[in-house]
C-alpha cells in the first residue's frame, strides 16, 4: 500500500497523509522554528499562592548583558485581562497574585542563558493574603476571596431539575448513596506550550502557536492588549497534542506582548516541562455526592446529586466543564426525577478547566460506580441493571432532552453481554494465581457532542481547485494530532474522486483560512465535515458544468471526475483538471459553505451562570469492559484486557477511529490508576514526568474496539464524535473491576497501589 497513490474513500482505513512527514522528522511544530535574529522570552512566576503584589524589582535583571526588555503589568497596553467567558486573568499580575504560577514579569533576552539569569534576579515584593485551597471552604461564608471584585468564590453554578426528585427519592423502594472524588489530571501533551511571534513592518502581530482555538485566541489577545483584531494573525501548524489543555490562553498573549516590545525581531517562548505542569490548565478535580432511588426490580426512579469542583484562580471554561458534568450526571439512563446541583469555586490552587471530555469523565466516574453499587444492593448483575434502564431512542436524557437522533447505547451494552470476557468471567476470575485476584468491571457511557445551545457551533469550509489541477482543502479546525485534517482530505477526495497526493490541507491561519470554532467538544469532524461535504459537492458541480461548456456538451450530467481529470462519460474523453481550471473563473474554483450544528429544542429546567450551557442534542455512546489482576502483596493493578464498544455513528476511517478509542482509553487508564497532579497549599507536588506518572507501553493493554455503527442523520456520512467518549470509561470500569476483585470499593481516584493495599487490609480487619 503506497499512501501517495491511495484513492480516498469514506469507510476505508487510509494511512494519514501527515504521517509521512512525522516519521521522517520533517513536520515543523510551532516550537521547532528558530527564526533569524530571534529573541527569547520567558516568564517570572509569583511562586506564592495568594498575595498583594507590592513591587516587582526588575533593575538587576535589566542590567544583565543580553537582556532586551523586562516587562511588568505597567507595560501592558489595554485592559490586561484575558479569558474565554469571563475576562478575569491578567497577562501580567497587577495588584493581586492568585496562584503560584501567576506571571509577574516577562523578560526578553538574546540567549536562553541570559534569560534564565535575568528571571532569577527579578525580586517580587508581596504581602501574603489568606489563601483558600479547598472548594467547599472557598464557598463557605467568610472565606478569603480569590477575586476581590467578585462577590464570592462561586465561579459558576448550574442547577438542573427534572420531575420531582425529592418525591421520587422519597417513594423509591431502595435508596443508594455514594460519594466520590476524582483527581486533577495533567494533559501531559508531549509538545509543551510554545511558539513565536513577530511584529511586521506594517505593525501587525503574527503569532505562530500551538493552540486549539486560533480564531478565538485572536479575539482574546486583541481584547487583552487593547488592539484591533485585524492587527493580529494567528498561525497554527500541526500540534504535538492538546487534549483540551491548549483550548484557551497560555503563551499567546505573552508572545504578542513580547513581540510588541522587540523592535520587529521575532520572539520565541517555550515552556519547559516543569513550567508547563505548573502553569497549564488541568482536568477539574471534583467531589460528587450521589443518591439514587430505585424500585426493587431495578428501575431507576430518582437521582439527587451534588457536584463540587475546584476551578482554580481563573475561569478557564470552568463553568462549561461544570455544565457538562451536570448534564451527564445521570449517565446514559432513563431517570424520571433528577436534581443536580453543581458548583465550581475559585481557589488558589492551579488552574483547572478543559481536558478531553470536559466534565463528563468526572460525572461518569460517579454514576457508573453507583450503577454497580445499586446492582449489588439489589442482587442484580451489573449489565442487567444497566440494560433495564439504558436510554433508547425517543427516551428523555436525565437532563430532559428527547433523543431524536442515533442512540446505540443498548447495542453497546449487548456487545459486552455476549462477549466471552463477560460470559466466562467466573471461570476467568477463578484462574488467578496465588496472591493475585482478578476482577471484571463495566461502564456505560454517553457523551454530548458540540457546544450547547447558546454559543453557535459552526465552521466555514473551503475547498479550492488550483490552476495545477490539484485541490486545497482548508483545515481551519486545528489538527492537534487527532487526524481531522486527514479526514477532511479523505472526505473531499472521496467526493472529488482524487488521489490523496492531489489534495493538500491548508492549516489554520487567521489570515488565510475562514473562521471556525475550536478543536474541541467531539466536533472537529462532525461540524467541519458537514460544511465540507456541501462545499465540495458544489465545487464538483461547477467543475462538471464548466467541462460541459468547454466541450459544448448538453450538461454537466454527462461528466464525472476521475483522478486529475474530468471524464465525458458518453465519449470516454478525459479533460485534464489543470485545463479545466485554467479556463474557469477564479471565483468559481473556490467553494465555501457555512454549517452550524443543531441544538436541542426541548425546554429543560436548568439555572446556570455559564455561557455555553446545556443541553446537547447529539450523543455518542459506548460500553467498556476491563479485566484486571491485582497483586495482593503490592496492590498493583494490571490491566489485562480492555473491550470498548462504541456508537460514534458511521466510521469514516477505521484506523483513525481506533486511534481515538485506544488513545482515549489509555489516557483514561492513567486517570484511573496513576495520574494525580497533587497539590499542597497551591503548589504542585508532582512537577514533572518522573513524579506524575502517565502510562507507558508496559502499562497499556492490547484493546479490542468494536464499532457499533448507527447512522447519525445529522452527521457527515452518519458520523458522530469519537474523540472524547473513550476517556469516560476507564475510571469507572477499573473501579468496578477492582471492587469486583477485592470486595471493597475505593471511592477516591486514582486507584493507586497504596489505596488498594489500604482497602484490602481494612477488608481483612472487618
Amino acid at each position: 500500500m503506497t499512501p501517495d497513490t491511495e484513492r480516498p474513500q469514506i469507510g476505508l482505513s487510509l494511512p494519514r497523509p501527515d504521517a509521512r512527514d512525522k516519521v521522517t522528522g520533517r513536520t515543523v511544530y510551532a516550537i521547532d522554528a528558530f527564526p533569524d535574529g530571534l529573541v527569547w522570552a520567558g516568564v517570572k512566576r509569583a511562586d506564592v499562592p495568594h498575595a498583594r503584589l507590592i513591587t516587582v524589582d526588575t533593575d538587576a535583571a535589566a542590567r544583565i548583558p543580553g537582556v532586551v526588555r523586562v516587562l511588568t503589568h505597567r507595560d501592558v497596553p489595554g485592559p490586561n485581562r484575558q479569558g474565554i467567558v469571563h475576562q478575569d486573568q491578567p497577562i501580567l499580575a497587577t495588584e493581586t497574585i492568585r496562584s503560584v504560577s501567576d506571571a509577574v514579569a516577562l523578560v526578553l533576552a538574546e540567549t536562553r542563558e541570559s534569560l534564565r539569569t535575568a528571571l532569577g534576579l527579578i525580586r517580587v515584593d508581596s504581602e501574603p493574603l489568606p489563601a483558600v485551597f479547598d472548594p467547599e471552604e472557598a464557598l463557605a461564608d467568610g472565606a478569603p476571596r480569590v477575586h476581590e471584585d467578585h462577590g464570592s468564590n462561586l465561579m459558576a453554578e448550574v442547577i438542573l431539575n427534572k420531575g420531582d426528585a425529592d418525591e421520587g427519592l422519597g417513594s423509591a423502594e431502595v435508596v443508594v448513596e455514594g460519594s466520590f472524588e476524582v483527581p486533577r489530571q495533567e494533559h501531559a501533551y508531549l509538545e509543551t506550550e510554545g511558539g513565536w511571534a513577530v511584529e511586521t513592518p506594517d505593525g501587525r502581530l503574527e503569532i505562530t502557536v500551538g493552540t486549539q482555538s486560533p480564531y478565538r485566541d485572536r479575539r482574546e489577545i486583541a481584547a487583552a492588549l487593547g488592539l484591533p483584531m485585524e492587527r493580529i494573525r494567528v498561525i497554527t501548524p500541526f500540534m504535538g497534542g492538546g487534549f483540551g489543555g491548549k483550548d484557551g490562553a497560555s503563551v499567546q498573549s505573552l508572545l504578542a506582548l513580547a513581540a510588541l516590545n522587540a523592535s520587529g525581531r521575532p520572539v520565541k517562548m517555550v515552556w519547559d516541562r516543569e513550567e508547563s505542569f505548573m502553569a497549564s490548565v488541568k482536568r477539574v478535580p471534583a467531589r460528587l455526592e450521589y443518591r439514587v432511588g430505585l424500585g426493587s426490580d431495578g428501575t431507576l426512579h430518582a437521582l439527587i446529586c451534588r457536584l463540587t469542583m475546584d476551578g482554580g484562580p481563573y475561569d478557564h471554561l470552568g463553568g462549561e466543564v461544570l455544565s457538562a458534568a451536570v448534564e451527564h450526571a445521570g449517565g446514559a439512563y432513563r431517570i424520571p426525577h433528577v436534581r443536580v446541583e453543581g458548583r465550581i469555586a475559585y481557589t488558589n490552587n492551579p488552574l483547572s478547566g478543559p481536558f478531553r471530555g470536559f466534565g463528563v469523565p468526572q460525572a461518569t466516574a460517579a454514576v457508573e460506580q453507583m450503577m454497580d453499587i445499586c446492582a449489588e444492593r439489589l442482587g442484580m448483575e451489573p449489565l442487567a441493571l444497566r440494560l433495564k434502564n439504558v436510554l433508547r431512542r425517543g427516551d428523555r436524557t436525565p437532563a430532559g432532552v428527547t433523543l431524536i437522533y442515533s442512540t446505540g447505547a443498548e447495542a453497546c451494552l449487548r456487545t459486552l453481554a455476549s462477549h466471552p470476557f463477560w460470559t466466562e468471567r467466573s471461570n476467568w476470575k477463578a484462574g488467578a494465581a496465588p496472591y493475585k485476584r482478578r476482577g471484571v468491571g463495566v461502564a456505560c457511557l454517553s457523551h454530548g457532542s458540540s457546544y450547547g445551545p447558546l454559543v453557535p457551533d459552526y465552521a466555514t469550509a473551503r475547498v479550492v481547485l488550483g490552476l495545477d489541477g490539484r485541490f486545497q482543502v482548508d483545515a481551519s479546525v486545528v489538527d492537534m494530532g487527532q487526524g481531522n485534517a486527514a479526514t477532511y482530505l479523505q472526505m473531499a477526495g472521496d467526493i472529488l474522486n482524487q488521489r490523496m497526493d492531489d489534495l493538500s490541507p491548508v492549516l489554520p491561519d487567521t489570515d488565510r483560512t475562514l473562521p471556525a470554532c475550536s478543536s474541541a467538544a467531539s466536533r472537529t469532524t462532525y461540524t467541519y465535515g458537514n460544511a465540507l461535504i456541501t462545499a465540495t459537492g458544489r465545487l464538483k458541480e461547477r467543475i462538471l458544468d464548466h467541462a460541459a461548456l468547454m466541450l459544448m456538451a448538453g450538461s454537466g450530467n454527462e461528466f464525472e471526475l476521475v483522478p486529475r481529470a474530468v471524464r465525458h462519460l458518453p465519449s470516454g474523453r478525459d479533460i485534464p483538471l489543470d485545463q479545466v481550471a485554467a479556463t474557469m473563473p477564479a471565483e468559481s474554483r473556490v467553494s465555501t459553505y457555512y454549517w452550524r450544528a443543531p441544538v436541542a429544542r426541548d425546554r429543560v429546567d436548568v439555572k446556570l451562570t455559564s455561557a455555553i450551557g446545556i443541553p446537547h442534542i447529539v450523543f455518542s455512546f459506548a460500553a467498556h469492559l476491563v479485566r484486571v489482576e491485582i497483586d495482593d502483596l503490592t496492590g498493583r493493578v494490571d490491566v489485562l484486557d480492555y473491550l470498548a464498544a462504541t456508537d460514534a455513528g458511521r466510521v469514516l476511517n477505521p484506523q483513525l477511529y481506533e486511534q481515538q478509542v485506544q488513545g482515549g482509553v489509555v489516557q483514561g487508564l492513567g486517570y484511573a490508576l496513576s495520574e494525580d497532579y497533587m497539590v499542597k497549599e497551591g503548589r504542585g507536588l508532582t512537577p514533572n514526568l518522573a513524579t506524575y506518572i502517565i502510562p507507558t507501553a508496559m502499562d497499556a493493554p492490547d484493546m479490542i474496539s468494536v464499532p457499533v455503527e448507527t447512522m447519525e442523520p445529522t452527521g457527515p456520512y452518519g458520523q458522530k464524535g469519537v474523540g472524547e467518549i473513550p476517556i469516560n470509561g476507564p475510571l469507572p470500569a477499573v473501579a468496578n473491576a477492582v471492587a469486583d476483585a477485592c470486595g471493597v470499593r475505593i471511592f477516591q481516584a486514582p486507584l493507586t497501589p497504596e489505596r488498594i493495599l489500604a482497602a484490602l487490609s481494612a477488608a481483612r480487619r472487618s
Binding site: 521522517t24 528558530f34 501533551y189 516541562r273 484506523q655 486511534q659 507507558t696
Partner: protein, 157 residues
C-alpha cells in the same frame, strides 16, 4: 571547541561549547528539529538518537561526547526518500497521531529491532517503555514494530 563526528553518514564539525546539550546542537545549531525535546530530563524519550547505532537521549548528552561518533537522527533514517521499514510500518499501521513522540519512538524501535531477535509484543512494550506517547495508547506502535520486525527479517533473507 571544535567537535568532529559523523552525522547521518557525513563527516561534520561544529564549533560549540563542549557542555552544550546535544539536543540543542541538533535542533538549534544544525537545524535538525526532528529530534524533539519534551522533558529535558530523560523521562520521555522524544529526543532519542542513535550514537554508534545505539539509542541515546540527546537531552542528556553533551556535545563533547559526540567526538568521533557515528550519529543518526530521524532526518538520516530514510535514504533517498525511501522509508526505513520501521517508518513505513508506523505510517501503514496508524502508529502516528500528533507525531511529537514519533521521531524518538522510531529511533528506539530501530535500536530494539537490531538488538532483539524474536520480538514478542511484550518485549516490544518493554523495549519502548522509555518512550512516552500521549495520543495512541501504544497499541498501533506495537503493531507497527511487530510488522517491521517481520519485514526486517525477510530483508535479511
Amino acid at each position: 571547541m571544535t567537535i568532529r563526528f559523523h552525522l547521518n553518514g557525513r563527516a561534520i564539525h561544529v564549533d560549540v561549547p563542549p557542555d552544550r546539550r546535544v539536543v540543542d546542537v541538533l535542533r538549534r545549531d544544525l537545524g535538525l528539529a526532528g529530534s524533539k525535546e519534551c522533558c529535558g530530563s530523560g523521562e520521555c524519550g522524544a529526543c532519542t538518537i542513535l550514537v554508534d547505532g545505539e539509542s541515546r537521549l540527546s537531552c542528556l548528552m553533551l556535545a563533547a561526547q559526540l567526538e568521533g561518533r557515528q550519529v543518526t537522527t530521524i532526518e538520516g533514517v530514510a535514504v533517498d526518500g525511501r522509508l526505513h521499514p520501521v517508518q513505513a510500518a508506523f505510517v501503514e499501521y496508524g502508529a502516528v497521531q500528533c507525531g511529537y513522540c514519533t521521531p524518538g519512538m522510531v529511533m528506539a524501535a530501530m535500536d530494539l529491532l537490531q538488538r532483539t531477535p524474536d520480538l514478542t509484543r511484550a518485549r516490544i512494550r518493554e523495549g519502548l517503555a522509555g518512550n512516552l506517547c500521549r495520543c495512541t495508547g501504544y497499541q498501533k506502535i506495537v503493531d507497527a514494530v511487530q510488522a517491521a520486525a517481520v519485514t526486517s527479517e525477510s530483508d535479511h533473507d
